[in-house]
Symmetry: none
Subunit: 132 residues, 4 copies
Amino acid sequence: MKLSIATTMLDAAHAEAARLNVAVCISILDAGTWPMAMIRMDGTPLGAIEVATKKARTSVLFQMDSADFAEVGSPGGKAYTLENTNGGLTSFGGGVVLKAADGSILGAIGVSGASVDEDIAIARAGAAALST
Amino acid sequence: MKLSIATTMLDAAHAEAARLNVAVCISILDAGTWPMAMIRMDGTPLGAIEVATKKARTSVLFQMDSADFAEVGSPGGKAYTLENTNGGLTSFGGGVVLKAADGSILGAIGVSGASVDEDIAIARAGAAALST
Amino acid sequence: MKLSIATTMLDAAHAEAARLNVAVCISILDAGTWPMAMIRMDGTPLGAIEVATKKARTSVLFQMDSADFAEVGSPGGKAYTLENTNGGLTSFGGGVVLKAADGSILGAIGVSGASVDEDIAIARAGAAALST
Amino acid sequence: MKLSIATTMLDAAHAEAARLNVAVCISILDAGTWPMAMIRMDGTPLGAIEVATKKARTSVLFQMDSADFAEVGSPGGKAYTLENTNGGLTSFGGGVVLKAADGSILGAIGVSGASVDEDIAIARAGAAALST
C-alpha cells in the first residue's frame, strides 16, 4: 500500500470526524503492522493515540475488524486471553482491516477519541476511500 | 529432545494442517521453554505467531496441555490470575506437552491460526510423531 | 500547536525530501512529546520510524536539536549516559526543536531514513514552515 | 516470500553449518520483520536464539547486512546510538538482507552460535538458495 493511498484514507476519515464534530486520532498501519501515517485532531484525549494504533494493530494481526475480534478474544469468547497476547490487543470497535481485491491484507485503519460508534463510522469512512 | 525429532513433529503437524486446509503457525519448545523450531504457513494471521509460542510455553511451564490449564488458571478456575504470571499465559487449546516414556518433560508443541479445535488436532498430530 | 500547523510543516518537510530524492519518515511531537502527525514515505527503511520519533523526543525533552544533544549526552560529552535515560535517546542530527516567538517549547520535528545531513535539511525545511 | 522458499534457505544454511561442523540457530524473517521459520541445532548456546533473530531484524529494518550496519550504528559510526533503537539492534555479522530482483526487501536471514565469520558464511549459504 502506498503512502498516497494512506493519506487519502486519512483525509477521508478526518473529514468524517469533522462532520461529526468530534476529535479523534487516526492511525494507518501496513500489512506488517508498521505505521504509515497518523494525525491527532486538536482536543483529542492523549490516551486515544495508543488506542487508535492498537485497534489497527489488532485488525492486521487477526485479519478482522477490532469489533469482530471482541467476540473471539475477550471474556466469554472462544479464545479468552487472546487479547493479552501480542503486547495487548483492543477488543472494541474502531479498527478496520484493509484488504485488496484478492483478499490479501493491505493493513488497517484505527480511530479512537470519540464514542465507539463514531470511531467505527470514521474508520469506515477512511476505509471506503481505499477503492477510490 | 533433538532437533531431528522436533522437525519430524513439525512436518507431521504441517501435513495435518495442510490436510485440514488451514494456515497455522507451529512452534516447538524444549523443556526449558527455549525455541527449537518453528514455521508459519502462508496466509497465517501474524497474531498467531506469538500465540503458538505462548501455548507451548504454558504447556511446558505447568506440565499440561494449554486446554487443561484453562480450567485451572482462568476466571472460575482454582488459581485464577495464574494466567497473568510468567509474562502472560494462554488459557485455551493448541498447546500440547511432550513427555518421555518415564514421564519427564521434553518440551511442548504449540499451534495457532485456525479454530481452537483445529489447532488442537494439529498439535496432537505433531505430538504423535514424537514416539515414531 | 494546532494540527493544521503540524501538517503544514509535515508537507514542507515531505516536499524537501522529494526534492532531495530520498525516502524518510517524518514525525511531529507536541510540547509533551505526544505524537501529532507522521508520515512514512514509500521505500523508507522500517527502522527509521522509531528513530524519527526518538530524535523529536530527544529535542523536546532537552529543548535542543538532537545534533546538539550529541555533544552533551554521548561518550566524551559532559553528561555521558544521559542518552540512556528516558527510554533511550538519539544523539545525532535530524531532530529539530520548535519554539514560539517568546522562546517557549511548542514541540519538535524528527526525520530519519536518509543521511544525517539530509535528515537535518529536511527537518529544518519542515521547521521553517512553522512561522509562515 | 513464501514459506517454501524460507525452508529451502533454512535447509541450505543448515547444511553449510553441518559442513563447518558448528552448531547455530538460523532464523528467517519476512519484510515486516515477522518470523517465518527457524531452527536451533543441537548444542547451540541458548543465547544465540535471540541474537540470530536480532541480526535478521537489523538487516530488514535498515535494508543492509548486519555487518554493514556496524559501520553506521555503533561507537565511531555516523549514527552512534542507532543500535539502541528498535528494541536494540545487532552490530556484527550474521544477518543478511534478502532482496527481490527489483531491489525490494523480501526479508532477512540471521545466524548465530559459531564465530562471526562462520555465522556470515552460513547466512550467505542460506541466502544463496533464494534464487535457486
